[in-house]
Amino acid sequence: TQLLEQSPQFLSIQEGENLTVYCNSSSVFSSLQWYRQEPGEGPVLLVTVVTGGEVKKLKRLTFQFGDARKDSSLHITAAQPGDTGLYLCAGARSGTASKLTFGTGTRLQVTL
């Protein structure tokens, strides 16, 4: 059972457009992380959010953790071809020794 559902599954946009990726669950997480993975490589951590309602910005990327700590979103402003990749959210629960549950993934393609 996949506990973290991401939407959309696939997104193809042109350079300069904005986009939002959603990560939803019925479970509460103590923290939530976002990763980006490129072909042939392992996922690379972008950000960790731990407080309900928290908003973090990383250049053109804005991450938000839901108030109830069940959902999160990733917003990219003015997408660039270098943003292309597989975006994965991952949640950790209290008392699970850092074990992560990964989302279903969103594949983003940004074209010129």
């Binding site: 923290s31 992380q33 392992g42 951590l45 960790t48 991952a90 950790a92 850092s98 074990k99 992560l100």
Partner: protein, 117 residues
């Protein structure tokens, strides 16, 4: 940040054989994990590699099929035993710690792409 390496990076194996994948971290870590990923899809946790004790397996994964070792704080191996084409996948290791730059986050190796004929 730490560097996590895996060997081999890819392999093509015959049905019925076994392959051992190595994962090396360049600093001591608390937790190490092994995942499986179909190309373009999400990650599924196979097991937690425990230093000095048996690995903890997730539902659907068993020790006889995926024996794991972790002899020290920087190294782990995953063996895929008696392989079948259904085992073709990318296998990733990750590591995390409880303090400093690795506090409660996971860092991943580049993965091992396995094809079973």
């Amino acid at each position: 940040s730490a560097v996590i390496s895996q060997k081999p990076s890819r392999d093509i194996c015959q049905r019925g054989t076994s392959l051992t994948i190595q994962c090396q971290v360049d600093s001591q870590v608390t937790m190490m994990f092994w995942y499986r990923q179909q190309p373009g899809q999400s990650l599924t946790l196979i097991a937690t590699a425990n230093q000095g004790s048996e690995a903890t397996y997730e539902s659907g994964f068993v020790i006889d099929k995926f024996p794991i070792s972790r002899p020290n704080l920087t190294f782990s191996t995953l063996t895929v035993s008696n392989m079948s084409p259904e085992d073709s996948s990318i296998y990733l290791c990750s590591a995390t710690g409880t303090g400093g730059w690795m506090a409660d986050t996971q860092y991943f190796g580049p993965g091992t792409r396995l094809t079973v004929l």
